[in-house]
């Protein structure tokens, strides 16, 4: 006989719905850092949760705004003659200066000092917020500063005027051609493209730890490649570890790959008592929880993205957690969040054995379907005998799942 009890969570210390996403996330980040997890870069985290605060959010909004949009996340800048690209930081300015000097090597070299002066003059009103935009309408807060590039044309007035006295809040993209340089759209677009590439490289540089002090492009690329390789190796190593730690852990690959994985939210709790031929009494408990997308901001990264289906083949008193929360942290794109399926086989050796499936829920569900509210079909089953539940290190999920305790008695 299986009886399900739903009780409020015992520990709400970490979970605080009123607390801002950032705070909890920072705290959890600290926790993670303490335990030695890979802590993602702060700017990228912040950008996920407070898209209005950081300039990186702009970049991320472009980078991640890719649903159904392949390669068009960044606006197409070809064909415009007057483009102003705001420099985000002084470093970027310097880089732009360097780029300008790079470009000018193709022609007869320019006066770099004039470039600097030009940049300095026009940049003072710039809030260093890099905006590359196509259309002319943008929110006021993001309005920014473009700092047009230095114009080295001495004969500017007579020319197809490159002087652009734009108000700081224009949303145009302005690029000034330099003296002696062709102003056809082709080379301008090329320049813009180069800038796009270097901007993305800069973002990668911030993402990859330990390459902030490396200046050469080759060195940065090296670090990126090493980091990606090391992450892939870590995944492989951890999966081997999981196989070693749990000799009974296995995946039914055939089923796994034959079905569609993303499904609407479902809370199914289906315990089935089964008198099998084994000497023990197995009971099958099946949790299916698939939660569709909700803009889950504040969802902790640690619990993200793993789609592991755990299946214990042997009976164990411990229930298998399988938080397979696949959640999108990006508020802007709002990727889907998947809950994973845990199938557990529990049995009790003696009649008094009470497998207790509890999890410290630090979750909240915002606007979830009703199936969530009736307790839980969640995935963090941790079981221990008789009422003791170990705390998860990664339980500090903020934000989207109802906290609940699940008890199962047999």
């Amino acid at each position: 006989m299986v009886r399900w009890l739903v009780a409020p969570p015992s520990d709400l210390s970490v979970l605080d719905p009123q607390r801002g996403c950032l705070n909890g996330q920072q705290q959890h980040q600290q926790q993670l850092a303490h335990i030695g997890y890979v802590v993602p870069h702060t700017t990228s985290m912040q950008s996920f949760h407070s898209p209005n605060d950081d300039k990186r959010s702009r970049n991320i909004s472009y980078i991640h705004d890719q649903i159904g949009d392949h390669g068009n996340g960044w606006p197409n800048l070809a064909g415009t003659k007057y483009l102003t690209i705001g420099a985000a930081t002084t470093g970027e300015e310097e880089k732009s200066i360097k780029e300008q000097s790079d470009n000018s090597r193709k022609r007869k070299a320019e006066n770099i000092s004039h470039q600097k002066v030009g940049c300095g003059n026009t940049a003072e009103d710039g809030k260093k917020h890099k905006r590359v935009k196509e259309d002319r309408v943008r929110g006021g807060e993001t309005a920014a500063k473009e700092s047009p590039r230095a114009n080295n044309k001495r004969e500017a007035s007579g020319d197809a005027s490159k002087e652009n006295v734009e108000p700081p809040k224009t949303d145009y993209i302005h690029v000034r051609a330099r003296r002696g340089q062709a102003t056809d759209s082709h080379s301008l677009a090329e320049r813009v493209r180069r800038e796009r590439i270097s901007e993305r490289m800069k973002y990668l540089q911030e993402l990859v730890p330990g390459c902030n002090n490396i200046t050469g492009k080759a060195g940065i690329l090296d670090q990126i490649i090493n980091y990606v390789q090391s992450l892939q190796r870590q995944v492989e190593f951890l999966s081997m570890n999981l196989a070693a730690v749990n000799p009974r852990l296995d995946f039914d690959i055939d089923h796994f790959f034959n079905r569609e994985i993303n499904v609407a939210c479902n809370s199914g709790v289906m315990p089935v008592t089964d008198m099998s031929s084994e000497q023990l009494d197995p009971s099958y408990v099946q949790f299916t929880c698939l939660h569709p997308t909700s803009a889950c901001c504040g969802l902790d990264m640690a619990m993200d993205s793993s789609d592991i289906v755990l299946h214990r083949t042997m009976s164990l008193p411990a229930s298998v957690p399988g938080p397979i929360l696949d959640s999108s942290l990006n508020v802007i794109t709002s990727k889907t969040m998947f809950m994973k399926f845990i199938k557990m086989r529990e049995w009790s050796k003696s009649s008094s054995h009470l497998p207790l499936v509890t999890f410290k829920g630090h979750f909240q569900v915002h606007g979830s379907s009703s199936s969530w509210n009736t307790g839980l079909q969640n995935l963090y089953g941790v079981e221990v005998l008789q009422g003791r539940g170990p705390a998860f290190p990664f339980q500090s999920l903020q934000g989207d799942i109802l906290p609940c305790n699940l008890e199962m008695e047999m």
Binding site: L207, L249, S306
Partner: protein, 151 residues
């Protein structure tokens, strides 16, 4: 209690009991599942689709909308490097090609898209590693407790 309703419930029924046999095989399967999870976590991304296709051994159709845009590694290398010598350009081109091979689906990506995909892929990998570490420690602790309990 009955299943509350979704027809698409996955059921993974495995009746065999494997002990130590096939440790490597299990590890591979776990890794496959982990990569599948990685791909699922960022749907809509080019690398996620490519990874999924590779895992399911499907041939990717070219109709994913990504265009090459004619940017080869050498050309971009030249852009990036600027004034440096020719061998440096070649070196950077080599590294870019290596990056293309690392990121799933990177072969058909233009350079700026490649960097975008790399950034997203790196973030997803970080998340994946975190989850797996947490899972690992949790399961390890459970096993230890089970042993302590004389299970």
């Amino acid at each position: 209690m009955e299943n509350q309703g979704n027809n698409k419930t996955l059921s993974f029924i495995r009746t065999s009991t494997t002990t130590n046999a096939g440790f490597l095989e299990r590890g591979r399967r776990i890794k496959m599942a982990a990569e599948m999870g990685l791909a699922e976590s960022s749907r809509g991304r080019h690398w996620s689709r490519a990874l999924r296709d590779r895992l399911l051994r499907r041939t990717g159709n070219g109709a994913c909308g990504c265009q090459k845009e004619g940017l080869t590694p050498s050309k971009v290398a030249e852009d990036l490097v600027g004034e440096e010598g020719d061998d440096e350009v070649k070196e950077i081109a080599r590294k870019l090609r290596a990056l293309q091979e690392l990121v799933p689906g990177g072969e058909d990506l233009a350079m700026d898209r490649l960097f975008e995909e790399t950034a997203d892929y790196v973030e997803a990998l970080q998340r994946q590693v975190n989850v797996m570490r947490a899972l690992d420690s949790l399961l390890g602790r459970l096993e230890k407790e089970k042993r302590l309990m004389g299970g």
